[in-house]
């Protein structure tokens, strides 16, 4: 191994998250995974949406983009298809991924392009002052739901599995070694890899902090779960709120979007020579 975490840090500044935020752990886990895989930062695209963790691209030496709320996955897909030799990572929050970006989420899972998608799931809109999120439980009191959130929470793990997810996992920001390993596995997986990360919000979530989750998480890999068993994976996905299994719920070898198309066989599209394309055959094709 020739690279260390320092090779992935920005020289321009340091993260400005709240003290104790799980984003620090996720950021570290990503950079550790990249270092362990020895990925070249110049060949790694790190795409954020809008949210707390989604600002992480400011603080990396990789090619970083801060996109729009809800759209990091389509943007990342465009980057990947433009240059499929790049390592592409998108990091969203639960609002980005499961609220405004839910449509893209389902279709990206279904499409199965080779991208790692990390969702810091803190069940709250942290950046915009603590409103309920799609993963907040029904009844959750927040500035936007003073009488309790009327909608039940979404189950991202179950959704991803049922949408055809080829790598569906959950991490916990309070277990760094496990998370690092999970992110590494996600990068090594061929296809769309989702890691939903339990990440208590230290500022807005006064009820469920680290103390709440610490004893309620358990590691799937240590509990005899078979990640190739879809039914078992779905059962585990519905175990909350009593228990929060972390680790790989489900993995399957499935056609990778860009690998099924011959357009990608002659190297990254971004590197094709476009200086002198012959379109005479197109004119020919539409003569009488």
């Amino acid at each position: 191994m020739t690279r260390s975490i320092n090779d992935y840090q920005s020289k321009l500044g340091k993260p400005n998250w709240c003290a104790g935020c799980g984003d620090f752990a996720i950021d570290m886990a990503i950079k550790q995974a990249l270092a362990q895989l020895d990925y070249n930062p110049d060949e790694t695209a790190w795409i954020g949406g809008i949210g707390c963790g989604a600002s992480a691209p400011y603080w990396t030496s990789c090619y970083g983009v801060l996109t729009l709320h809800g759209r990091p996955v389509p943007f990342a897909t465009g980057v990947k298809l433009a240059n499929h030799k790049l390592n592409v990572l998108a990091w969203s929050g639960d609002g980005d991924a499961y609220g405004i970006g839910m449509g893209h989420f389902i279709h990206a899972v279904r499409r199965n392009a080779n991208i790692v998608y990390i969702v810091g799931n803190n069940t709250v809109y942290g950046l915009t002052k603590g409103q309920a999120s799609p993963t907040s439980q029904k009844g959750c009191i927040s500035p936007s739901t003073p009488f309790g959130a009327p909608d039940p929470d979404v189950n991202p793990i179950a959704l991803a599995i049922s949408a055809g997810g080829s790598f569906v996992a959950r991490g916990y920001a309070g277990n760094l070694p496990h998370l690092t390993n999970l992110i590494k596995q996600a990068f090594e997986h061929k296809g769309f890899a989702l890691i939903d990360i339990i990440q208590p919000c230290v500022t807005w979530d006064k009820i469920k902090g680290y103390a709440y989750y610490q004893d309620k998480t358990y590691v799937l890999e240590e509990s005899g779960h078979d990640p190739s068993d879809k039914d078992a994976a779905l059962k585990r996905a519905y175990e909350q709120p009593e228990k929060f299994p972390i680790g790989l719920f489900y993995q399957e070898e499935r056609d990778v979007y860009e690998d099924t198309q011959p357009q990608f066989e002659n190297g990254p599209l971004a590197k094709h020579d476009i200086s002198n394309i012959d379109i005479n055959p197109l004119f020919e094709a539409y003569t009488a």
Binding site: L12, D42, Y58, T77, V79, L81, N83, Q263, L269, H272
Partner: protein
Amino acid sequence: MNLPKKINELNIMIGGKAGEGIDLPGSLISHLCMKAGLYFHTAAEIQNVIKGYNNTFQIRISEKPVNCHDNKYDLVLALDDETTDLYLDNIVPGGGLIYDPETSTVERDDINLYPVPLRKIAKEKVGMELAKNVVGVGALLSLLDHPVNALHELLKKQFAKKGDKIIESNILAVEAGYHYVNEHFDDNFPFFLEDRESPETFMADGSMLACMGAIKAGCKFVSEYPMTPSSGILHFMAKHARDYNISVNHVEDELSAINMAIGAGYAGTRSMTATSGGGFALMTEAISLSGMIEAPVVIFEVQRPGPSTGLPTRTGQGDLRQVLHAGQGDFPKIVLAPGTHEEAFHMGFEAFNLAEIFQCPVIVLMEKYLAMNSVNLPKINTENFEIDRGKLMVESEIDESFKRFEDTPDGIPPRSIPGQKGGAHSASSYEHREDGYFTELIPEVNAIQLRRMRKLDTCLETLPLVMIEGEKEADVTLVCWGSTYVAVVESLTLLQNEGISANLIHIKYLSPFQNGVKEILENAKHPMLVEANSSGQLGGLIREKTGVNIEDKILDFSGRPFTADLIVEKVLKTLN
């Protein structure tokens, strides 16, 4: 009626219910004309339904290139009664009408009537009532004195995939129609279709030509969500995706389409999306993102009339303001609008150079009329087409001093793409410094905003001046944009016949707004605006940019394209 012979100058219309197949006769006749060495323009008018209701297909034929349709028909093939009911008066005196006496009763004594039992012939001779459209084509060829066997080869090509039996049936149908007319009617129809020696042409609609330009420009990425009338672009790019190594993606919605295309553009692949007004509305937030992170992207916006779902299969120019103002905040955006099919090709190419040179979104605004109607053209010489990738750096040029968003005199910063050593930076939708890191400091915020906007000034310097077309001095100056141009240009001659001298200006670059308009309009005797929307959107833009208010406006928002006749009528009305 003994009228002078008219050779190779005629306007044919085929009408029928959706589902009766007016496309096939249209395609056969246009291909026949291409083979005969003639030029044509086709125009389809379609109701937004799957089956039923009257649709029409027009083909205007000439020995010279044709750019515009005309609603005065020389020969009509009516497959249903609505065609005869609605369009009988549009047939010129001395023209002809082929109709099925089973469905229509027709009375008009200054045209040639050809009652042909199309359905009955199709049933008896071919055993397939649906073949009545091809029987009609046979009848039409007989009237035009064009050899029927010219169609055999075309039918073989058209139905190659469907097998010999279908080919034989269609040949039977066309022969039956041909011979029926030969046997039952006098040979006195004054219009003729004859072969001419001329360079080989190809047939394409505006969408196809814009796509061909895009492919020539090296576009390798398309993400799109279908929306009439822009879907032809998606279909064409998808069809040729593997011939040219293009990743063509029919994605979940327009939000995804635009964000993917911007992602691909950011990563160094020339990329595009296409949509119509409603889909474009969904894309606007991301268009601003493209402006902010300075990632090139090309968007083809094919207009149909709104508001809301509007008239999905009709034409219009109601999206100019939407496109000009798309996206939050001020950021540079280039908007082009081709007038003709050939311009659609050139601008389809040019858009990708502009997007990379100025590192901003480029929107090519078309109308259904241009995008979905076809002409035939000689092959376009692309020898002098040059790819210009602007300030995209090669790896060896990137050094320690590299700042992705550097404050440069021309407003254009150097650009690196992922994979390049030493070029990594953060490209942020939040306001940022020259090195990409976020800032809210007043001098930095002001400087970068001014620097980005400066790109428009630099761009404007490269654009051609707007020029007068036609006589330099004229009684009337018609002002137009987009494909309204083709009817306006045709109206100049007709106006001259009415004793009115007229010229025109056609504004092709809407943002930045082309220079030259103010000077021309200030010296024009009587400018008139011609636009396919109800508020005179270009008129408003001209007033904003030049201070000149064009009082007289010829506006049509019926969803139907302008014809030269209509413009002449409105000009005369305005002058009186």
